[in-house]
Symmetry: D2
Subunit: 364 residues, 4 copies
């Protein structure tokens, strides 16, 4: 079930870049949740192409329709099917891609694995596939918002070699205040310039997204294989263009000694807290009540408007000139996708935690 | 099923550090595989404590027994149950840990999540839990060895801030030539010194493990959620003490431009190959026939022989003096564990790939 | 994942009787299968209402659309999304059902479980939900047809107390020769009369469907929990209105002694065969190469055009007069649904069998 | 994962009749449950061979050991591994069975599917495999007992053609009052005679087990594929020697008209109840608060002490004379096994029901 994600809040996604549409079926959504397209569309709007001058100029409204699972404005506990029809297709634009493999794209691997592929816009390997994830994530986000204080914020901390100061203030408004979604305004401007510069040369850049989940209860995550950070990691590494995931101190933390890295416990305001948070909010695979902080590496966009060496379907060496309307940097549009995946992981683990640990109370 | 891993080659692990024993049940192992304890024990020996002067001095033979699934020396296709009885327990040693939470350990989170825990040796959160993984991984390794050229080699590339040269030769014999399992001899010596130095101060260090899987076929990995690197990432992040995972260019790759990062295709010796391998052997979540290369960050051991601030079961602030026999660095013993997890991911994906893509041939 | 079925050939169904539509997403379909709506529609036509004088007079064309997973007429190995929009809705007709629970329907249990339900046409508990199953089953059927001799035939053996002779000839043409789908013409006529008679009195009848799967290989089914008949049984018992499942000799077989019941082996035409088939084609949960024969009990339709005692949403006793256009007997329309489920179980087990038992060959 | 059962209360069973032992790993057991071997052993004693004059005279103590997941007498929420070592093996007794396939046993299908099998005592296809199920079921039973009024009682209603009166009183003491486990004493005596008579002729008989689950809440079961009766049916059909499953009115119910079959609602003692219970406690796949009543058909034991025609490993026709110590009727010993499976299905669905439907409350 490679296109099914989640154990209790389960999603099945489908669709290709240039097929009939893309969509998702949610299985396991709690009943009685007030829900309409108006809850979903804003998240899709944060993801959609053409939203700013540093994204692809392709225009797609990406209007979502809810086809099932909601009655009189509330969920019924049955599957929620959501659909976005595809528009703005230019099938002619892909004739060359049918024959030649784009470097560092999925063309060659899909072709070899399946023997047949939809080359238009990358088919299933297109980032357009993430529409279903974002739509489902919007449902998870609403559930968390209505029933908890949990808040998930993703933001850009680095574009190419331009990094945000570590002590920048993180807030939803600061993140959405600029088109690159870096909460530090000065850095954001430099990042935008770097992206424009790359595009002007037909090149591309990547970067790092950080995500912070606040107000989590202690206890989410199920050792040993479904540790909270393992499920988060899998969710993030399943996104197109990702090359790495780290939580808390991450790779840098290996440069510290144990005496520097350990998060000492204290009693703060009547609660058990840690003085530092190099653990990133997880210990032994279980949330400890501190912010869960993780980072995801996104590689530079593989599509560049330059001529590159490659091979064709028959294995002959040739060259391919990049064309079309593409993002010179996928990172700003990745923000709502990272949040969607994180919110679904949180919700799924909340349900799992309760099912095993909260339902049955045995007298002492 | 948080203690069940894999879809077609499925393992269920069980056991605590100081309970009756630890073990694993494999479900889905192909029949007719010649198998005995002699295939498993060597991998457990690479993992076991007390194997060298830089590991914990605890002595445990970790002798494995196969209890089912093998008849007359060959697997029958039914579940394989493997068991290692615990020995060398010192229950008295853990009375303080019952009351006080060790910093950056799982004591506090397990206690809060479950309301009851086995504190002896960390219970289920102990790295001793990985014995079941290594035993099952040895079975996967044997299957791969008998039926393919696939080879999985993990090795230490960094301890604290001591890194191996990027161009060092990687081979099984070079890795096993020293006790730190770094294939570059000169670096290995420095690493060993660094570990000894940390131990002498009651401190600990972490590091980075790299793993290289050679001779994989093109086509392993199932988009979108079960991408090959996503499943590898989850497997690695489910290991104790891990804080990060990256594949190919990883986090460093985000410093490159698309024109520098793309792996151009060429025809080499009649096969489609890439000139570089920044992708790390996966494109679009599917192996492309190049080596799969990934890295895992291991934090410094949380147990240090120093006094640390913490809280107790009632939330009162207190201090805890680290005691006992522990690894000053878990990285060398992590090598066989990383390999075991990687081999199981490879085998599982081979089975999945064949099930969907190889069984049914339709005439053109 | 209560709306997800299958392990390797996985379907996710969604939709209510009177919502936007009903549909299914198939995950795991092999690539390169020639596929279009024309492969699906005939099975839906066998299932759709209004097809004959003994079904509900509701008219629904149930036109299927394939939205993804097919490119240039062949599957790509990615998810196949299929959709049927709902039509012919009469929302006004259901105002009474919103307040009163129909006896032996799912109104009360859905209301209590979820706290909110779509009452129109039974919502998710409507048999209309099976459209997605039939559409997905048509894909499985085509795969089996193109790659094997396996043939699945379901047919009506009893309506109310009218039974078909045990030795009637079974063929697709005999089954489809009449509207009740009983392959024995004389019995079929009596069955049709019985259904018409029940309808004329505002009453309903049930019956028994038998299904025969021919030309199966030896070896499908995975002990211990996923025995072939256990998976078939679950599939059938997941259908609306079913009350029982039996394989081979079934409940009647318990009246025999072991010496009468055992299927003795013989060598027939160079193959190991059994002289009798009371086992129904499965031994130890695994197919033995004989026909798999099973039967499913369908209760009389719960909707009858008579006044019945019931309670309302507040628990007050009241009466409800059945109204609307309903099948006086669901059994004839259940035939393509039973076949669809059976074909998916067969395909899933073929994939599972190969994955574990056929991929790896070890030298003696 | 054919040897893994359950979604939230998950068990993995392993072991063969004559291997090292048999066992089970439970994953997902709630923490803080008081648990020791004394909770498990009584259920195993009800299942074990040699318990009465109508079972096999084989003597096996079947002493269970808990190896993990329990600390200081209470579960910790981590996997519970339980083990029964095999004894009383007579390997020599099976040399003929290695060469010849026993009719209506799993020898031929296992041999063909896997190419290699453990023939001693039937290996994995032996009913001895159910020890793991009964041990795990005992844990589920204790949880239900400590946290609810739910009670599961299975009992024999028919042996061969001897049936219990439909109105017999059902109680645990009446069931356990005799060795055949039929709660109607007069019928029990006749049943015991029939079994002895069959054994005296080297023959065997089968029968029907009924199971009644009382005091279930409304709302267990998850449409569409995981209906409560579908999961029960799969659980029962996964047991050795079963040929059928029915719930409520079952196959007989198809002889009624809708007007006779419908369960009318009433308000009884302030609760919504049905006047009759032909539905068997489930409507639309969800429990409705009435007793869940189902029946399972068990075929006559395949092993009979008579000479039977069969074939050997090379396909040559031959004969086989039944030998050894076997149950002339498996039904009495099946009672604790049916209860174990039912209790696990109930517990799993309680956890699932709460996870989706009880955790999140949204304001109106």
């Amino acid at each position: 079930m490679p296109n099914v994600f989640g154990k209790l809040f389960t999603i099945s996604t489908w669709g290709e870049s240039h097929g009939g549409g893309v969509g998702v079926v949610i299985d396991g959504c709690p009943p009685n949740l007030p829900l309409s397209e108006a809850d979903i569309q804003p998240e899709l709007d944060r993801r959609r192409p053409g939203q700013s001058e540093i994204t692809t100029p392709r225009k797609e409204a990406d209007q979502v329709q809810i086809l099932s699972g909601v009655y009189e404005g509330k969920t019924t506990g049955t599957p929620i099917s959501m659909l976005v029809f595809n528009k703005d297709a230019r099938p002619g634009a892909y004739s060359e891609m049918k024959e030649k493999f784009r470097p560092s794209h999925a063309d060659y691997t899909y072709q070899t694995k399946y023997g047949h592929r939809n080359p238009e816009g990358g088919g299933r390997s297109s980032a357009r596939e993430t529409i279903g994830r974002v739509a489902a994530g919007a449902v998870a986000k609403k559930i968390l918002k209505l029933t908890s204080e949990i808040e998930t914020l993703a933001y850009v901390t680095r574009i190419h070699d331009i990094s945000m100061p570590a002590d920048a203030e993180i807030s939803e408004s600061a993140i959405e205040a600029n088109i690159v979604r870096c909460p530090h305004e000065g850095t954001a401007e430099a990042m935008i310039e770097r992206i424009k510069e790359a595009r002007s040369k037909g090149d591309s850049v990547g970067g790092v997204v950080e995500c912070r989940i606040r107000n989590l209860p202690v206890g989410l995550g199920e050792p040993v294989f479904d540790r909270f950070e393992a499920d988060l990691g899998k969710a993030m590494l399943s996104l197109p263009a990702t090359k790495g995931f780290e939580v808390g101190s991450g790779f840098e933390g290996t440069l510290l000694k144990g005496s520097e890295h350990n998060d000492l416990f204290e009693n703060r305001d009547g609660r058990v807290r840690t003085k530092t948070n190099l653990s990133g909010g997880v210990q032994g695979g279980i949330t400890n009540g501190e912010d869960v902080v993780f980072r995801v590496a996104f590689k530079p966009t593989a599509t560049i408007l330059q001529e590159q060496a490659t091979v064709d379907l028959s294995g002959e060496e040739t060259t391919l000139m990049g064309r079309g309307r593409h993002d010179p940097c996928v990172v700003p549009r990745a923000i709502p996708i990272v949040e969607a995946m994180a919110n679904m992981v949180v919700l799924d683990h909340l349900m799992r935690q309760h099912a095993q640990n909260s339902l049955f109370t045995f007298e002492a």
